[in-house]
């Protein structure tokens, strides 16, 4: 029995929750690593600015982590409320990393509380920094474990189905599925990359708003460097993801690349538009590039959509999502690289207003890349919730009233979204860095 309305509403609500949660979750994974780096640089260089950077970022981080906790709890429960049939099946095979994620988060939450309230308890700053390590590890491992579950949805293994019954379950084989390495690496690297560019954007914004303080310049330079490193990592992992898809989920790759016919010497289609008859218009074709992406060999055969039944092909609009994600990633590589080289070589134009605005735009753009990346990942798996095993429509709840819940949760996310933006901007506007430095100096003289 499938309740079509409930299926649709469940998809909408899940997409809403995840799209909102992923912003805070991404920052929640990446920002503690940035705080750790700043804190460490501060101790190494004995530079008060970096220590304060860590301290001020932590205050902001607490707000984003709180919203992450709330929305994470929401999605955790919604998985069972909206997709009970899926969770009943998945629970038997992939519950282990879900369970471990709780521990990772538990660990993170405990030490975040301690780190936050113990800034002045230690004479030796290094001891305080030690408390942050479990926060960063816990946050990153939360991402690792949750992404393992998502990877399992793309490449389920670790069980057999005999007469409709799940048998021979092996939780470790399920965790370490073929989609896991590239997916986990991609999620973690992009979380670091996005967090670095968001923090860089804040520094650039303060500079544009008239502050000329070294503090912001140091923050900006540090974050652009780290952002560059992780965007290069993302590029390399992205290439490996292409190879994973070609081997295990060729329909997802083919739909994202508009690769209709199976062929060798396959070209990569960039940008473009689909008309009513699914003809590609105004696209850029890079010869052999898809074969290279899929198999690292220009003559390699790449499976096209012609190999799949019509009702098992994901929607073709994921090509646009793919392009936006990759385009933003490439742009950020260029911007951060130019900034890095520019600072070392004293290029003037990286200090112009226009370039700084570009860096500011990089923050929200990186978030958009995260969003489009997840939409691509999820829509690209359709019609399956568990590829090849269970379709999304079979997984959804049969209960009515899911549509009302959409309004309820929209209200909650609206309050959380507006609230976090207002509180964050007020927190830093009321206590600018100039004032905090002045106050600390005063305290030392006393």
């Amino acid at each position: 029995m499938i309740n079509e309305d409930a299926v649709f509403a469940s998809r909408v609500l899940t997409e809403l929750t995840l799209s909102f949660h992923i912003i805070y979750a991404t920052l929640g994974v990446g920002v503690p690593v940035m705080i750790m780096i700043a804190h460490w640089v501060g101790i190494k260089k004995k530079d008060e600015h970096y220590i304060l950077l860590a301290r001020r970022w932590t205050r902001g981080f607490v707000i984003t982590v709180a919203v992450g906790v709330v929305t994470g709890t929401a999605i955790g429960l919604q998985l069972s409320l909206l997709w009970p049939n899926f969770m009943e099946l998945a629970g038997k095979v992939i519950a282990l990393p879900l369970f471990m994620e709780t521990f990772a988060f538990f660990f993170e939450a405990i030490f975040l509380g301690i780190y936050l309230y113990t800034w002045d308890r230690f004479k030796d700053q290094r001891k305080h920094l030690l408390l942050l390590i479990p926060v960063a590890i816990g946050a990153s491992f939360s991402a690792v474990f949750i992404t393992m579950v998502n990877a399992f949805m793309n490449a389920p293994q670790g069980f057999d189905i005999v007469n409709g019954e799940l048998v021979n379950v092996n939780p470790l084989v399920a965790m370490f599925n073929p989609a896991m390495p590239t997916k986990v690496a991609h999620v973690v690297a992009t979380a670091y990359m996005t967090s670095a560019f968001v923090l860089a954007a804040i520094g650039a914004f303060r500079l544009l708003r008239g502050s000329q303080h070294m503090y912001h310049k140091k923050a900006l330079y540090l974050m652009m460097k780290i952002g560059f490193v992780f965007s290069i990592a993302t590029l390399l992992i992205g290439d490996l993801s292409g190879k994973y898809l070609a081997a295990y989920q060729p329909e997802k790759l083919a739909a994202a690349e508009w690769h209709f016919e199976t062929e060798d010497y396959a070209p990569l289609i960039l940008l473009g538009w689909l008309d009513e008859e699914d003809n590609v218009k105004y696209a850029i074709e890079i010869p052999y590039a898809l074969s290279m992406l899929a198999h690292a060999w220009p003559s390699a055969e790449v499976i096209g959509l012609d190999q799949f039944p019509k009702d098992e092909i994901p929607p073709l609009y994921i090509h646009y999502l793919f392009n936006i994600m990759v385009g933003i990633g490439m742009l950020m590589i260029v911007v951060s690289f130019m900034y890095w080289i520019g600072v070392r070589r004293h290029w003037r134009f990286i200090h112009t207003r226009a370039f700084r605005w570009l860096i500011v735009a990089g923050g929200p753009l990186s978030i958009i890349a995260i969003e489009t990346g997840w939409w691509l990942a999820e829509v690209g798996r359709q019609p399956w919730i568990l590829r090849g095993i269970m379709k999304t429509a079979e997984a959804a709840t049969t209960s009515d009233h899911v549509d009302i819940m959409i309004y309820l949760f929209s209200g909650l996310y609206l309050i959380l979204g507006i609230g976090s933006v207002v509180v964050l901007s007020r927190m830093f506007r009321n206590n600018p860095i100039e004032r905090e430095l002045e106050e600390r100096k005063g305290a030392v003289h006393l």
């Binding site: 709890t73 629970g91 519950a95 405990i110 048998v167 509180v423 964050l424």
Partner: protein, 342 residues
């Protein structure tokens, strides 16, 4: 009841749920007292105590709940199908209320202070939450879920007109206020805040008897709603008797203004005996009469790996939790507000 994987699994989960019931009750009740005192101008007495205790631990509180529901899907995946389908509305409402409370901590305590409406919503959310969450226990007693063409459906009319559900709601509210008041009396006393101690002691004594009466009322309700469960409760009457003795001990100590720490310890004992007594008498059903821990259990491989992960996780968490408590709950300087803010 023999010790098999099923029983180990449910015991672990029940223990986490018990942990959540105690620390979330402290949290919910504190929020209510805080809001109440804002409107009766006793704010200065309570707010500080509450913020110093609650702010560092609220995320940890939340994890206990997450742990329970993730764990129950892991050990008993069929619960996702039964409870997931019927609980859409009550649990969604609970999530929104949790959202309001979580964001209050973040926005008000770390951010900027004082929005009266928010404090009010935060306090009220703390009372609606136990009510919304306690519906799960009511439903588990059976009689509210029917299987219609293979799908479990919840009879809201039966639920809202049942005296049992209202008794359980009443118990959840009185228990939240009682647990919270007893704990905060102890905490305020440690902080050497005489005014707050007196006020909270008064709250503790106020809510003690409504709590015990509603608890007794539920056992009486069960005799007609679910006779099988009632019989099993009578079978382990001694657990509830011990629980009652502990209750009297707490009230006596609070009344005599003696040893608030021991009073809170007895309270935890009281609730432990009642909670495990309830759990044991509920055995083996997760949902009367459809679901037992045996027919909903996961495969052996998953169960064993979950238990191993659980033990390894505990080895990591127990020292960490100890550190947290030592720094915030048991540190005299911190409790009295002497150390620096972030």
């Amino acid at each position: 009841m023999t010790m098999n994987l099923e029983v180990i699994g449910i015991t672990v989960l029940w223990t986490f749920l018990f942990g959540y019931v105690i620390i979330a009750s402290i949290d919910f009740g504190a929020g209510f007292f805080n809001a109440f005192s804002e409107f009766t101008n006793k704010q200065h007495i309570l707010t500080k105590i509450i913020q110093r205790y609650l702010s560092p631990v609220w995320e940890v509180t939340n994890v206990f709940l997450v742990f329970f529901f993730v764990g129950i899907i892991g050990f008993f995946p069929k619960t996702a199908f039964y409870y997931g389908t019927v609980l859409l509305i009550p649990v969604s409402i609970a999530v929104v209320l949790l959202g309001i409370r979580g964001s209050y901590y973040a926005f008000e305590t770390y951010g900027t202070k004082g929005h009266k409406g928010y404090a009010f919503m935060y306090g009220v959310a703390g009372l609606f939450l136990p009510a919304a969450l306690s519906i799960v226990l009511t439903i588990s007693e059976g009689g509210f879920v029917a299987i219609v063409s293979g799908q479990p459906t919840l009879d809201y009319w039966a639920l809202f007109t049942s005296p049992l559900s209202w008794s359980i709601v009443a118990l959840s509210l009185t228990a939240v206020l009682y647990i919270s008041a007893v704990f905060l009396t102890w905490y305020a006393n440690k902080a050497e805040d005489v005014d707050a101690t007196n006020l909270l002691r008064k709250y503790a004594l106020t809510w003690a008897f409504p709590m015990i009466i509603t608890a007794g009322g539920i056992i009486y309700q069960l005799s007609s709603h679910n006779p099988a469960h009632y019989e099993r409760i009578l079978g382990i009457w001694w657990m509830f008797a011990i629980s009652t003795l502990f209750f009297l001990g707490t009230v006596w100590l609070i009344w005599k203004r003696k040893n608030y720490g021991l009073a809170f310890g007895l309270l935890v004992g009281q609730f432990a005996f009642a909670f495990y007594g309830y759990g044991i008498s509920h055995y083996p059903y997760l949902l009367y009469p459809y679901l037992t821990i045996y027919d909903s259990f996961t495969n052996e491989a998953m169960a064993i790996s979950l238990i191993v992960a659980f033990i390894l996780g505990l080895l990591l968490l127990i020292p960490s939790l100890y550190l947290l408590l030592r720094l915030f709950l048991f540190s005299k300087d911190y409790v009295r507000g002497k150390t620096d803010h972030y």
